[in-house]
C-alpha cells in the first residue's frame, strides 16, 4: 500500500473537520527534510539532520476563529477538535473568511530532483569549501559562524471553499559571518547570505569572500567625525534601516490595526522618485518563490512603490476583507501559525549609477556596511551604531571608522534618497542596491 500524499492527508483532515461540523476550515501542511553543516570559530562544528511534518488546522465557526497545529501526523484528528473548541469560545469577527479558489501559476525551477538525494557528506563539503575560501582571502580572517543548509520540502493546503494546492521545493542556503584579527586589533563582523534552488547553482565562494573582505576592510577602525550629511547604506544596512520599516508600513494588517501611517497614502508620494520597490513571489530562483501563499492564494508580482509613489499594500485575505481590498497573495507564515501578512522576494530596482559614482559625489559622508540598532516601525525613528563604517572624503573612502552613531527618521529618509546604485546584492529574500541618503545625523562614538 502506498503512503498517502501530503495533499491526501490534508483532504482526510478536512473531511474530519466537516464531519465534526466545521463549515469553514483550512488544513495546511508542510513536510521538511533538512541537513545542516555548521562552522563555528573557523572550524566545522556539527552536522545535523532534521525531518518534520507539521499540520495546521484553521476553522471559522460563524466567523469565530480557532487554530491548532501539531507536528505529530497521527494526532491531526485531535487538533481538529482543539481548533473547533477554540473557535466555539472566540468572539466572531466579520473579516475571518477563507479565500476562494483561483488559478495559481505553475512555477518552474522550484524543485531539483538532485536535491532530494543530496548527501550529508556533500553538505559538509560545502561548509568546508566556505572555510577554504575564507582562509584563502587572508590568514587574518576568521569565519566565526557559517552554515550550509540543504532543505527539501513539500507543502499542501486545502480549504472548504475548494482551494487545493501542493508544491515541492528545494533550496540550498549559505550564510557566512566573518571577523578579521591582527594582533590586538579585532574588526567588526560582517555577514552575507545567498541561496540556490538547484544543486548546479550552488556557489558559496562569492558570498563567503564578500563577508571576509568586508571584515578585513574594517580592521583598524578608529573613531570617526560628527556631522550632518550624506550617508550610503549597503544593501544589508538598507534592509535594517529602511526596508523592514517599509514592509511594516505597507502591511495591510498594520494599516487595519492603526499602526501604519500609509493607510491613506496609496497613490501618494512616500519616497524619493528614485525609489521603486516590488515584491514578486514568482521570481525565478528567489529564496521565497512559491506558487501560492500561506492561504493558498497565488503569488504574483506586486509593485509596492513606483517612482516614489505608494501603489499597493500587502494583503492577506483578512486584511483585504477588512480594508475592502483583494488579497495580494501575501499571507505569510507556516502551518504552525495563523496566516500573517508577509513579503516574499522583495527588490528595490537598481539606480543605474555605479556605487563608486555615488561615493565620488560626496565631499564628506559615511558608508555604512552594517547597522546595529533599530528603526521604530511605528514612528520611523532610527538610531544605532554603524558597525562596518567608512568615512568618505572628497569622493573617496578615506578610512574605516568605529563606534559611529547614525540617527534619523525613516519616513524622512525615504524622501531624501539621492541615489541608488546599479549594483545589487541579495540579503536573505531581499535584493537591494546601495542607497544614498542626505542630512543624516552622524555622531562620532
Amino acid at each position: 500500500m502506498s503512503t498517502p500524499s501530503l495533499l491526501d492527508r490534508c483532504r482526510q483532515a478536512l473531511d474530519i473537520a466537516r464531519a465534526r461540523g466545521a463549515r469553514q476550515a483550512e488544513i495546511a501542511a508542510e513536510s521538511t527534510r533538512r541537513v545542516t553543516a555548521t562552522i563555528s570559530k573557523h572550524d566545522l562544528q556539527i552536522a545535523q539532520t532534521q525531518r518534520e511534518t507539521t499540520f495546521g488546522v484553521r476553522v471559522f465557526d460563524e466567523h469565530r476563529l480557532g487554530f491548532a497545529c501539531t507536528n505529530n501526523p497521527s494526532n491531526v484528528d485531535s487538533i481538529v477538535g482543539d481548533a473547533l473548541t477554540i473557535a466555539a469560545a472566540s468572539p466572531p469577527d466579520d473579516h475571518s473568511v477563507l479565500p476562494q479558489p483561483s488559478d495559481a501559476p505553475q512555477l518552474e525551477g522550484l524543485y531539483d530532483e538532485a536535491a532530494a538525494s543530496f548527501p550529508t557528506g556533500d553538505v559538509v563539503k560545502q561548509a568546508i569549501r566556505m572555510l577554504e575560501v575564507a582562509t584563502a582571502v587572508d590568514p587574518r580572517v576568521i569565519l566565526g559562524d557559517a552554515d550550509f543548509v540543504a532543505t527539501v520540502s513539500e507543502r499542501a493546503l486545502v480549504n472548504t471553499e475548494g482551494v487545493e494546492r501542493e508544491e515541492q521545493s528545494s533550496v540550498f542556503t549559505y550564510f557566512a559571518l566573518a571577523t578579521a584579527r591582527e594582533g590586538e586589533l579585532v574588526s567588526n563582523f560582517d555577514f552575507q547570505f545567498d541561496a540556490s534552488r538547484s544543486v548546479a547553482g550552488i556557489d558559496v565562494e562569492p558570498t563567503t569572500k564578500r563577508a571576509c573582505e568586508n571584515a578585513l576592510g574594517s580592521l583598524g577602525a578608529k573613531p570617526g567625525e560628527t556631522f550632518k550629511g550624506p550617508i550610503i547604506l549597503s544593501p544589508g544596512a538598507t534592509l535594517f534601516v529602511l526596508v523592514s520599516f517599509l514592509g511594516f508600513q505597507a502591511d495591510g494588517m498594520n494599516v487595519f490595526r492603526g499602526m501604519s501611517r500609509w493607510g491613506d497614502q496609496v497613490g501618494k508620494r512616500v519616497a524619493s522618485e528614485r525609489l521603486s520597490l516590488i515584491d514578486d513571489g514568482t521570481a525565478p530562483g528567489g529564496v521565497a518563490t512559491s506558487a501560492f501563499d500561506r492561504e493558498g492564494v497565488p503569488h504574483r508580482r506586486l509593485t509596492v512603490i513606483e517612482n516614489g509613489t505608494l501603489t499597493n499594500l500587502f494583503h492577506n485575505t483578512y486584511s483585504a476583507h477588512a480594508l475592502g481590498a483583494t488579497s495580494t497573495g501575501h499571507a505569510g507564515g507556516s502551518p504552525r501559525t495563523i496566516p500573517s501578512v508577509g513579503a516574499t522576494n522583495v527588490e528595490i530596482l537598481p539606480g543605474g549609477v555605479p556605487k563608486d559614482e555615488l561615493i565620488r559625489e560626496i565631499s564628506k559622508g559615511l558608508l555604512v556596511t552594517r547597522f546595529s540598532g533599530n528603526t521604530n516601525p511605528v514612528t520611523g525613528d532610527f538610531s544605532g551604531v554603524a558597525k562596518g563604517a567608512f568615512l568618505i572624503r572628497d569622493g573617496k573612502i578615506e578610512r574605516p571608522v568605529a563606534g559611529t552613531l547614525i540617527a534619523g527618521n525613516a519616513f524622512e529618509a525615504l524622501m531624501s534618497i539621492s541615489g541608488l546604485s546599479e549594483e545589487r546584492e541579495r540579503v536573505f529574500n531581499f535584493t537591494l542596491p546601495y542607497v544614498r541618503l542626505e542630512d543624516v545625523s552622524v555622531t562620532a562614538g
Binding site: S40, L44, I46, G66, S90, T179, R257, G258, V378, S383
Partner: protein, 464 residues
C-alpha cells in the same frame, strides 16, 4: 518514555544524549476588540546528540518509537562520522558529571491546565477593553496571554535519567496613543515559571493595563533629553538587561572562545567592588523567575554561578564541552528551545546581587541625573560589551528629587565601564523580564533582574 530513552542510551555504541521534549503552547491575542489569534500548538519529538570520533552529530525525529529513535541515533552517528574527517579541533572529552536521576517540577501548584480556555480568554478580553476604553487618545489597544508547558525526559549514556515539567505563562498589554499626528507606544508584561496564580499574583493585570495607558499618554507630552554622560539610577529591569545582554553574553564560554572581551580576564577586576553578578538556575531572592531550571538539557544540575564576585570576574557559563576545555565544572547552562534544536550555552536567571542602599538615598544623592526604567523598543549589545538600549520610562533627577518625565531616551556605552562606575547598589530586588525571550539562533526563556544601581552612563539625545 524515560525508560525507553535510558535503554537506548545504554545500548548505543557511542556517547549519546537523548532528549524527549513535548511542548504544548497556547496563545490568545486581542487587538482593538478583535480576536487576532486564539491557538494551541503541540511540538513533540526526540533530539539525539552523539559524539563520534571527537565530533558531535545531531538528529531529530518526531517518530518517538524505539525504531524511530534508533534510526535517528544512526543518522546522528553518520553525520558525525562524515564531519569527523574535516574537523580540525576534535572534542577530546566532555566534562564528567554525576549521573543525575529523578523527576522535577511535577508538583506544580495551580497548573495552567486547571484553568479553562474561557477563563484565559476572559482575562485577555477584559484587559484589552480596559486599555482601549481608557482615553480617547488611545488609537490601538492589545492584550495577549501565552503559555508554554514543556515536558522533557533526558537520558545519556553516562547515566543521566531525568524527567522535567516546566510551566511558563505570560501576559502582555500594549497601547498606541495619538495626538497631533504623533504616535507613542506603551507596553507592559509579566511572565513566570509557575502556575496560573503565580502569574496573577506577580502583577495585577488591571494595574498593567492602567500603567500601559499612562505610559503611552505621558510620552505624548514629554520632551526629549539632551545627549550627555550623566549619573543615572537604573531600575532592576535595566540592571537585568545590562547584566544579561551586555555582560552575560560576553561570558558564555562559546562566545569567549570566539574572542569575546572577557577572554583571559578571569581573576581580574572588571567592575566596582559593589557589584556581584550571577546567573542561576535557581530563582534567588524571589520565586518564579522564568529561567529557573532544576537541570539543564545535558542533565547537569543548574545551580547558581557567580560570574562577578565583588567586582572580580570569577567564571564563565559552560556546557560540558566548554567546561572540559577550560578544566572546570559545567555550570548547567546547556539549553535547547525545541526537540529539534541542539543545546547551546544559554543564560537562565541573570542578576546583580542585592546591596545595602535604599532607593530614596540613591536618588537623594544625585544633583543632576536621570532615573531610568525598563527596556524600550530597541536593544543591541556586542561581544565586546558595547551596548545601546532604548529606555521605556525616564525622569530627570534634579537636586535629589525625581522630576520631569522624558521620552526617546537611549543609553549606550561599554557595560564593564558602566559597572566600574557603580557607586551604590540598592537593597531591593525584582525579577523583571519573565515575558521576554533571549535570542541566539534559537530562543530561550531567561529572566533578568536585580536591585536599583547608581552609575554613570551616556544618554542619547534626539538629533536635531
Amino acid at each position: 518514555m524515560l525508560d525507553l530513552l535510558s535503554a537506548l542510551a545504554r545500548e548505543a555504541n557511542s556517547w549519546v544524549e537523548l532528549r524527549y521534549h513535548a511542548r504544548r503552547s497556547r496563545l490568545i491575542r486581542m487587538r482593538n476588540g478583535r480576536m487576532e489569534e486564539s491557538s494551541s500548538a503541540e511540538v513533540i519529538g526526540v533530539g539525539v546528540r552523539v559524539l563520534v570520533d571527537g565530533v558531535f552529530g545531531f538528529a531529530s525525529t518526531t517518530d518517538t518509537t524505539r525504531e524511530g529513535i534508533s534510526k535517528s541515533i544512526a543518522d546522528a552517528q553518520d553525520a558525525a562520522r562524515t564531519a569527523a574527517g574535516s574537523k580540525k579541533k576534535r572534542i577530546e572529552k566532555l566534562a564528567p558529571i554525576p549521573a543525575t536521576t529523578g523527576a522535577f517540577g511535577f508538583d506544580l501548584a495551580d497548573p495552567l491546565t486547571d484553568h479553562s480556555l474561557e477563563e484565559k480568554l476572559d482575562l485577555v478580553q477584559r484587559i484589552e477593553r480596559r486599555v482601549a476604553g481608557a482615553d480617547p487618545r488611545i488609537v490601538s489597544a492589545a492584550a495577549s496571554y501565552a503559555e508554554l508547558i514543556d515536558e522533557k525526559a533526558i537520558a545519556t549514556s553516562d547515566g543521566v535519567a531525568v524527567r522535567l515539567l516546566q510551566s511558563r505563562p505570560e501576559f502582555r498589554t500594549m497601547a498606541t496613543a495619538q495626538e497631533n499626528g504623533e504616535q507613542t507606544l506603551g507596553m507592559d508584561s509579566v511572565g513566570v515559571q509557575g502556575g496560573w496564580s503565580d502569574m496573577l499574583s506577580k502583577r495585577d493585570p488591571e494595574e498593567m493595563a492602567d500603567h500601559t495607558v499612562k505610559l503611552a499618554l505621558d510620552q505624548l507630552q514629554a520632551p526629549f533629553p539632551e545627549g550627555e554622560t550623566a549619573t543615572v539610577i537604573l531600575d532592576p529591569g535595566l540592571v537585568g538587561v545590562l547584566a544579561h545582554e551586555a555582560i552575560g553574553h560576553t561570558v558564555e564560554a562559546d562566545l569567549v572562545l570566539g574572542g569575546a572581551i572577557t577572554m583571559g580576564k578571569i581573576g581580574q577586576s572588571v567592575a566596582s567592588p559593589l557589584v556581584t553578578l550571577c546567573d542561576s538556575g535557581v530563582s534567588e531572592h524571589l520565586p518564579h523567575a522564568v529561567g529557573t531550571l532544576p537541570v539543564d538539557d545535558e542533565g547537569v544540575a543548574a545551580t547558581r554561578t557567580v560570574l562577578i564576585d565583588q567586582g572580580v570576574l570569577r567564571s564563565y557559563l559552560h556546557d560540558r564541552e566548554s567546561a572540559a576545555h577550560f578544566g572546570v565544572e559545567p555550570t548547567g547552562n546547556a539549553r535547547a528551545w525545541e526537540y529539534s534544536d541542539q543545546p547551546l550555552i544559554r543564560m537562565r536567571n541573570t542578576y546583580v546581587d542585592q546591596g545595602e542602599t535604599a532607593l530614596e538615598e540613591m536618588i537623594g544623592g544625585v544633583k543632576h541625573g536621570y532615573y531610568l526604567k525598563s527596556l524600550g523598543m530597541s536593544g543591541q549589545a556586542d561581544s565586546n560589551a558595547e551596548f545601546m538600549f532604548g529606555v521605556r520610562e525616564a525622569w530627570r533627577i534634579v537636586d535629589g528629587k525625581k522630576g520631569e518625565f522624558l521620552r526617546g531616551v537611549t543609553i549606550s556605552g561599554n557595560a564593564f565601564d558602566v559597572l566600574k562606575s557603580v557607586d551604590a547598589v540598592g537593597n531591593d530586588f525584582t525579577w523583571e523580564y519573565g515575558a521576554g525571550a533571549c535570542g541566539k539562533g534559537q530562543p530561550a526563556k531567561a529572566d533578568l533582574g536585580g536591585p536599583h544601581i547608581r552609575c554613570r552612563i551616556t544618554i542619547g539625545g534626539r538629533q536635531q
